[in-house]
Amino acid sequence: MGFEKKIVIIGETRGCKIHHVTYELTSKAAELAGKINAEVVTLVCGHEIEKGDLERLFKTGAHRAVVVDSPELVLVNDDHYLRDIADFIKSEKPDMALAGATPFGRALVPKLAITIDAGLTADCTELGIEEGTGLLLQTRPAFGGNLMATIKTPEKRPQMSTVRPKVFKINETYGNPVNIVKKDHIPGKSRIKMLQTVKDLEQVINIAEADIIVSGGRGLGSKENFALIFELASKLNAAVGASRAAVDAGWIAYSHQVGQTGTTVSPKLYIAVGISGMIQHQVGMKSADCIVAINKDPDAPIFNIADFGIVGDLFDIVPKLSKIME
């Protein structure tokens, strides 16, 4: 093969499926690999992963997929995952390792960084290769997106990043030959007991990864009025978000909260309804491609960042929007 370097993707699975961030990172790695003549290896830990999902890795740029299969990997027990991933990295000695900045990656990879003595940059939104050195340039937001920093890891290997989902596009045009290798799961004790996973039925579409989010704030005035938000969201196939004020008032669960003490989102479209848009809210959503604001106060700060602002009564406008959006 004659590869000079190696990039590993630490894959993520949900049940029998591979998470989309794994394909996004495989495609991005394939693009970077072209510049430094690197092999792209995607590691998939889980149980009974669908064959079609594994084969898709080669369309999206992987040269090799390594599969660790065990019933112990059905629920995400960090102790079990960490053993398999650390062993894999130690034996493969890649130059770079990428994982999704999902709850899975953000919990696991910082532990991996200490375990294998490597540097790690969190939540990257851009990756590149430095001219001359071939080092990985990792760009990430800090201060809630008010500052961007580019970071590199000069010496320790692998150079590791977690990368936000939906930042990179999946490219299915690679068509590499299927090359799946099995690796044994390393059994061992765990100090953590996973009792069960409970699905949040209210949160049909997860806000961290949604393309469209309709968010409600204080202006809704009550829990019942959140129905307006849910209705518009369902018409747009969108996730439902909320401001801190709405969450603190008990109108909607915390998992919907967008902003500094909630979730940071970057959808294609963010519709803020009855949200004034204090900076704590803005840091969680201002990287959205398009922001729509509906608020009765023409001086609300949300209008300073809205691409399309509507000054008016949300109780009049939102039902009209729901009616015409199909």
Binding site: L120, A122, G144, T150, I192, L195, M278
Partner: protein
């Protein structure tokens, strides 16, 4: 005596952040410092554990410049018993790897403990890496994104870990570190007595030497990662703004705007 240790960070108050309109960079001067918002929930949880267990001491730790003393005093005013400030020029420019090493060495100096707590992430760096890092240095399990603690006693916890499709129910036996979310509790307002305690507390300052830190693992030289450059992202500007009263066709206009932009 049982022991809970809380890790906090002093951060600039984001709500006071301003962007210089000429250079388009963040103005840090004159921005007040606060305890990282997520850490407030860790402090509150530690104090609640103490109240529940009795005979428990809560120690709050931060690494930072001498002025981080103020953040520790605020934590004491909320009910923490004592505090340690890790401050040394040698710690400067530590990345998350080196910072978690320093904090784990401080735990080593303290010795015995039952529970370690931290906020989910700090609002300046936003990395969420230091908590899991400390636990790994210490060789204990860490659960991140904790939004509900069903039961906690020395050497045991049953909790909920939030993830993007719901939550996991997890049980741990032994020592552990948890990083917590806002949903866990409602931080209290400092009492008068707490404020008095904060005022008179003697807060020791520990240096790299005090905690026996390996000089090769701390500060700039001990950090695997390097910041190459920092820059401001493009400033987002407001665009179209229409009054619905003056223009009743605004819902249709929005729909065609979104169609044009190929968003829907």
């Amino acid at each position: 005596m049982k022991k809970v240790i809380v890790f906090i960070k002093q951060v600039p108050d984001t709500s006071e952040l301003k962007i210089d309109p000429v250079t388009n960079t963040m103005i840090r001067e004159g921005v007040p410092s606060i305890i990282n918002p997520f850490d407030m929930y860790a402090i509150e949880e530690a104090v609640r554990i103490k109240e529940k267990w009795g005979d428990t001491e809560v120690t709050v730790i931060t690494m930072g410049p001498p002025q981080a003393d103020a953040a520790l005093r605020e934590a004491i005013s909320m009910g923490c018993d004592n505090a340690v400030l890790l401050s040394d020029r040698k710690f400067a420019a530590s990345d998350t790897w080196a910072t978690s090493y320093v904090l784990s060495k401080a735990v080593g100096k303290i010795g015995e403990y039952d529970v370690l707590l931290a906020g989910k992430q700090a609002t300046d760096g936003d990395t969420a890496q230091v908590g899991p890092g400390i636990a790994t240095w210490l060789g204990i399990p860490c659960i991140t994104y904790v939004n509900n603690i069903e039961e906690i006693k020395p050497g045991y916890v049953k909790l909920h870990r939030m993830h993007d499709e719901g939550y996991d129910v997890i049980e741990i036996e032994g020592k552990f570190l948890l990083t917590v979310l806002k949903e866990l509790n409602e931080p209290r307002i400092a009492s008068f007595r707490g404020k008095m305690n904060a005022k008179k507390a003697e807060i020791p300052v520990w240096t790299a030497e005090d905690i026996g830190a390996d000089p090769a693992k701390i500060g700039f030289m001990g950090s695997p990662t390097r910041v190459v450059k920092a820059f401001s992202p493009p400033v987002k500007q407001g665009g179209i703004k229409i009054s619905a009263e003056e223009d009743p066709s605004v819902p249709e206009k929005l729909k065609s705007y979104l169609r044009e932009k190929l968003i829907i």
